[in-house]
Symmetry: C2
Subunit: 143 residues, 2 copies
C-alpha cells in the first residue's frame, strides 16, 4: 500500500505519524482478512524486528476509537479486526475458521451507518454475524 496514502489516512484522523502506525494501518489496508491482533503482530514482525505486541494493541485501539477500524466480536476467544468500516454482516466458518463478508439483512447500509432509534433505544452500532459452513467448505465436504 502506498506510503503516502496511509500517512494521509492517519492525518485525516488527526493522529501522529509514526513508523509502527504506518506499518499496522498499511497491513490492514492490504490484507482484508479480519486478522487478530496477534496475526498482525506476527506478520509485521518479520520486517519490523523490535515491534511490540503492546504497540499493535495500542494502535488498533486508537484506530478503532477514532472510527478507522471496527473490532468484531464473533469468536469468543479473541477479537478480529475489520478495516472495512461500512456496515456489513459476517460468517464465521466452523470448518476453515475464516470470517467472510456478507451483506447486511433487514437494515440498509445508510441507516446502519449512523445512530438511529428503535423502540425508544438509540442504536449506535449494528452487528450481524452467522456461524456455519462457508460455500468452499461445503463443496469440499460434498466431494
Amino acid at each position: 500500500m502506498n506510503r503516502e496514502t496511509v500517512i494521509g489516512r492517519l492525518k485525516e484522523y488527526g493522529l501522529g505519524i509514526t513508523q509502527p502506525r504506518i506499518e499496522i494501518l498499511s497491513y490492514l489496508m492490504e490484507n482484508h482478512v479480519h486478522p487478530t491482533v496477534d496475526v498482525i503482530y506476527e506478520s509485521l514482525l518479520e520486517n519490523n524486528p523490535g515491534l511490540s505486541r503492546t504497540t499493535v494493541y495500542n494502535t488498533v485501539q486508537l484506530l478503532t476509537k477514532c472510527g478507522a477500524l471496527r473490532t468484531l466480536c464473533i469468536d469468543e476467544s479473541h477479537v478480529n479486526i475489520d478495516e472495512n468500516t461500512m456496515p456489513h454482516a459476517h460468517l464465521l466458518c466452523r470448518e476453515c475458521g475464516r470470517i467472510i463478508d456478507l451483506p447486511l439483512k433487514g437494515i440498509s447500509v445508510e441507516k446502519a451507518s449512523h445512530p438511529f432509534t428503535m423502540d425508544g433505544n438509540m442504536i449506535e452500532e449494528v452487528h450481524q454475524y452467522y456461524r456455519g459452513l462457508c460455500q468452499e467448505c461445503r463443496n469440499k465436504q460434498n466431494k
Copy 2:
C-alpha cells in the same frame, strides 16, 4: 422454579441429574438477565457453599452443546448466557451495561431456527446485536 420442571428439562436432553445442574439450570430459568458465568457462580454460592466455578463452566458448556442454552458474544471481555433459545436480537447498553432482548430483523424466527443456505453458505446460527443506549438510560440523560 419447580424442581421437577428443571429435572424434566435435564432428562429431555438426556443429561444426568445432579444437584449442581439443577441449581444452575434453575437459576437460568428464573433469571432472564443474560448473566456471565461468574454472576451465576456468585449468585448460587450463597445457598450452595462448595460449588466450584469450574462446575458452572462445565455445565454451561454442556447445556450449550446440547442446545438448551445460547452463549452470546457481544462484550469482548466475557461470554453472556441466554436461556432463551428462540432466535432474537440484543442491545448492549453502553450506559447501564444491560443486554436487552429485541426482535430479529430481516429474517423470520422460523427460518433462523434451523440451518438454511444463503449465497451457497450453510447458515447454522444467526446473531444480531446492537450497541447503544437503552430507552431507560436515554430518558435519564434527557432529564
